[in-house]
Amino acid sequence: MNPNNYLVLAAIIFTIGAYGVLVRRNAIIVFLSVELMLNAANLAFVAAARNSGTLDGVVAAFFVMVVAAAEVVVGLAIIVTIFRTRRSASIDEASLMKY
């Protein structure tokens, strides 16, 4: 099988995630889309590792997962804090800095 197929699949999933970030306005769904983009990048890492025959890509994907876990913890805490003060998880309503 052509090893580039995995990269094409990763590109498709990454694009769908980017579209979700741009279009959706619920903060949690935007965050889920970011997670999907990270997963697509991980898939590309692993596919490239197997192509080149070294394990460095696998370790890089592992590190990405650790950073994603840390990022999710902080991001969800921020969403909960915003929800507590505004009673809404919509990213349109957290625009106080604009004015």
């Binding site: 306005r25 696998v58 370790v59 590190f63 909960v80």
Partner: protein, 242 residues
């Protein structure tokens, strides 16, 4: 058709379907479940890419821990929170689809136009260290040990930061047992509060108990339900009760 291309075809299609489900479904809970579905299929792809360690970690950490934390937060924020479909910026959806199509076409074009070298496979790299796990361990704890240590610092900082962010400061001093006893016996409600409604049609914590005149007893519900507007009004029952 080899087994690998079969796995790629099935799991890859399912992963794309899950990703599309995230973008399309309106309720946040449905989106979260679609993402979990996509992530499990990506884990299957890791297994077929000779990375069983990463596939296991993907299932345990991503679908097990991270997605469940998303669901926890969704329960706090309100399961029913769904997006409104009104555009706040004019033409945002159209521009976003245009951007997505261009971006995707560019990426796919760049990938497919590059030469596909035959895959080297990971068996050689695994054999050098005497096994897959041993090879990964020697990379993490020898070559990338500094990044590993830095990531442990990142994790600790994230944990402390989330505690600080989500921490609620107590504004009033904690009530003593004496004060609580006084409130209970001298207040307006001496007996315990009424339980939620146990009715023939529903028996759930969001169903309010009915008063003798058929109206809803608001004190029979947990306090958080009123804020989110998730009270089951038990409309048909109140009609009959009147």
């Amino acid at each position: 058709m080899t087994g690998e291309s079969l796995v790629f075809g099935v799991s890859g299609t399912f992963a794309v379907i899950g990703a599309l489900g995230l973008v399309v479904s309106r309720k946040a809970v449905h989106s979260a479940l679609w993402v979990a579905f996509a992530m499990i299929n990506i884990a299957v792809l890791y297994f077929s890419l000779e990375a069983p360690f990463l596939g296991t970690i993907q299932i345990i950490v991503y679908t097990g821990a991270i997605m469940m934390m998303f669901l926890f937060v969704l329960m706090m924020v309100g399961v029913d929170s769904s997006d409104s479909l009104i555009e706040t910026i004019k033409g945002q959806r159209l521009l976003a689809s245009l951007f997505g199509l261009t971006f995707g076409a560019m990426l796919i074009g760049a990938i497919t136009s590059s030469l596909a070298s035959p895959s080297a496979g990971l068996s050689g790299a695994n054999a050098n260290s005497g096994g897959h796990i041993q090879a990964i361990a020697s990379l993490i704890f020898r070559d990338y040990v500094f990044a590993f240590e830095a990531l442990s610092a990142v994790l600790i900082t994230a944990a402390v930061g989330s505690i600080i962010l989500a921490h609620n400061e107590r504004w009033a001093p904690r009530k003593t047992q004496d004060q609580m006893q006084r409130e209970r016996t001298l207040g307006t409600h001496v007996t315990p509060l009424p339980a939620p409604g146990v009715l023939a049609s529903t028996n759930a914590v969001d169903t309010p108990a009915l008063l003798p005149d058929g109206s809803i007893s608001t004190t029979s519900l947990p306090g958080s339900f009123g804020i989110k507007g998730q009270v089951d009004t038990a409309r048909g029952i109140t009609e009959e009760g009147k």
